[in-house]
Structures are given as structure tokens and as C-alpha cells.
């Protein structure tokens, strides 16, 4: 959670663009990763992330602090945005048509070729998972969110999150196992 987040949210609700700018700076990378891992294409991830924050900013007056973190509100908007995207693109886009070039690990990260290939394989495997499993894996293992925070973000109980996490990892391992055998 961002330091002084509550005050930033209050100021943003009052229309202070600079306050929302700070929230954007902190949460944009997370939301972008979340969207990119789910949609697989950099261009689309950029468009969707832009829409997520634009909607959040235009509707920030409707945000009410119900004890959940601000990120859960953003993840919710992102999930809705992705659902709309797939609904609109139904029949036009499929995972097979995704161009791998759009999913690029930044050059700043020093990885050998084998690691890069492994990451690509994991990325492909994640995209074969159910959206529910994807959400849990991204939040728990990539964003290092706590079980409680994840539960609040996906609107499920902590117990349900633990169960989903276990199933998601099992499913991911199965997919990776199958792909390595092929």
C-alpha cells in the first residue's frame, strides 16, 4: 500500500489531478502487468491499462472506502475492462494469434536464453488458465499480495483464495508438464 494513500485518494476525489497522478505512478505498473499477462499483447495491454485509469479517474467520486485497498478497486475495473475487451473481440482474437513479440521482457533484465524461453513458456501456460486462476497467480506470486488483500480484490474469502491458489498452481504445472513433453 502506498504511504499516505488515504489522503491521496481523498484529494483525488476532490479533483486534485496531482494526487491521482501519484496513485497512477504507484499502481500503473501492477495493473499493466496484470492486464498484459491476461491479454498477452503489449499494445492491447497499453490500451486497456489506459482505459482502466481513465475510468478510475473519471469515476473516482464513486469510490468509497469500504475497508478494501484502493488496488482492489483498480483490479476490479481492470477485470471488467478485460471482460469487455474479450466480449468485443470475440471471434477475432485467439491465443494462437497472439504475436509473441508484443510480450517482451525488458532488456534491462539480465536473463540467459534458457530463462527467457522458460518465461515465455510460463506466460503461454498462464494464458491457458481460467481467468480466475490467472488473477490469483498474478496477485499472489507476481505482485506478492497477501491472501487477505487478494481475497478483497477478487471478492472471495481467504479460504477460497488458498484453495484457488493451490488449484491454479497445480493446473499451471500440468500445462507446463504437458508442454515440455510435446
Amino acid at each position: 500500500m502506498l504511504d499516505g494513500e488515504q489522503k491521496l485518494i481523498e484529494r483525488a476525489i476532490k479533483g486534485k489531478a496531482s494526487a491521482f497522478g501519484s496513485l497512477y505512478d504507484y499502481y500503473q505498473p501492477r495493473i499493466y502487468r496484470f492486464v498484459l499477462i491476461k491479454v498477452g499483447r503489449r499494445e492491447e495491454a497499453e490500451d486497456l491499462t489506459h482505459e482502466v485509469f481513465k475510468n478510475a479517474w473519471l469515476n473516482i467520486e464513486s469510490y468509497k472506502d469500504m475497508g478494501f485497498p484502493f488496488s482492489s478497486w483498480l483490479y476490479k475495473i481492470a477485470r471488467n475492462q478485460i471482460t469487455d475487451f474479450y466480449r468485443a473481440a470475440k471471434g477475432e482474437t485467439s491465443i494462437d494469434k497472439i504475436d509473441p513479440e508484443y510480450f517482451a521482457i525488458p532488456a534491462s533484465i539480465q536473463l540467459d536464453l534458457a530463462d527467457k524461453m522458460e518465461i515465455e513458456r510460463v506466460k503461454d501456460a498462464i494464458q491457458e488458465l481460467k481467468p480466475e486462476y490467472q488473477d490469483i497467480l498474478v496477485m499472489r506470486f507476481i505482485e506478492d499480495m497477501s491472501v487477505k488483500e487478494t481475497a478483497e480484490s477478487v471478492e472471495k474469502s481467504e479460504g477460497a483464495v488458498k484453495v484457488l491458489q493451490h488449484r491454479a498452481m497445480k493446473e499451471l504445472k500440468n500445462i507446463l508438464g504437458n508442454s515440455s513433453r510435446q
Binding site: A17, F20, D25, T49, W57, P106, S108, L111, I119, L137
Partner: protein
Amino acid sequence: MNLNELLKQFKYIEADREYTRKSRSLILSAKHTARVSLADIFLKNVQLAASVALAGLLIFMIVGGFSAWRMFSPLQIANLDPVGLKAEAQAIDIQIQLANLNYGEAALAPAKSGESTPAITPAPAPAPKQETSAVTAPALQDNATSAVSIDEALDKLSQ
């Protein structure tokens, strides 16, 4: 690398900096543009002013009632003035009593003017008003008699 470590590598994925800069400025200016709509501000102010004025008028009417209306309105409604109505009602009553008094005097006048005439003279049958006033006129010439009669009548009325 095991699966957990591989998943951790996804944390280093980040958006293009140029895209982030453009997206940020576009998003933050989006609301600003929407906010500076003069028509919206004007409309909101008009709505607010109208609602406040109507609410004030309603409260004023409830609290002040018609007395406030009487005090401040240029249109005076006579029917809503209880003092005026009372005075008017009393004036009507007095006029009726005076009319009866005149009628009684007219009836008594011939009896008092002639001594040979029997004391009790039947009152003349209801005659046209012109005739009554003709009879009344000479009676009023006798000031003392009429004054006494009016005093007596007023005494009776006051009793």
C-alpha cells in the same frame, strides 16, 4: 529456476516509458476538460439557486402563513382581514337597527302630532318606501321628540 522464481520474473515487466508519460498526461487532462465546462457550472448554479429559493419560500409560507402574505404582498385580500371583516359586520348590524328605528318613528309620528287621534294607531300597512319617507320627514322636524325616541331606542338596544 523453479516455477515460483519464474513467476517472480514477471514482476520486472513494465510498460514503455513514453507510453506511460503520454497516458498519464491524457488521463489527468481528461477530467480537467470535463470540469471546465462553463455550461455545466452555470446550469448547476441555476439549479442550486432555484432549489434554495423554492425551499426558502416554502419554509416562509409554512412558518409565516397568510399573515406574512398580507404584510408583504401588494395585493391585499380583504377576505383575509378578520378586523376589517368584524368592523364591516358590525356596521351592517347598526345600519339594520337604524333602519328599523326610522321605521318605528315613522309609525309613531302621526299618533304624536294629533291629540284627538286615538293613542294607539295601527301601524300603517307596509307601504312603498317613498311613502314612508314622506311620512317620516315631518316627524323628523320635531327634533325633541325624535331625539327622545332615538335615545330610548338606543337604551333598549343597549339592554
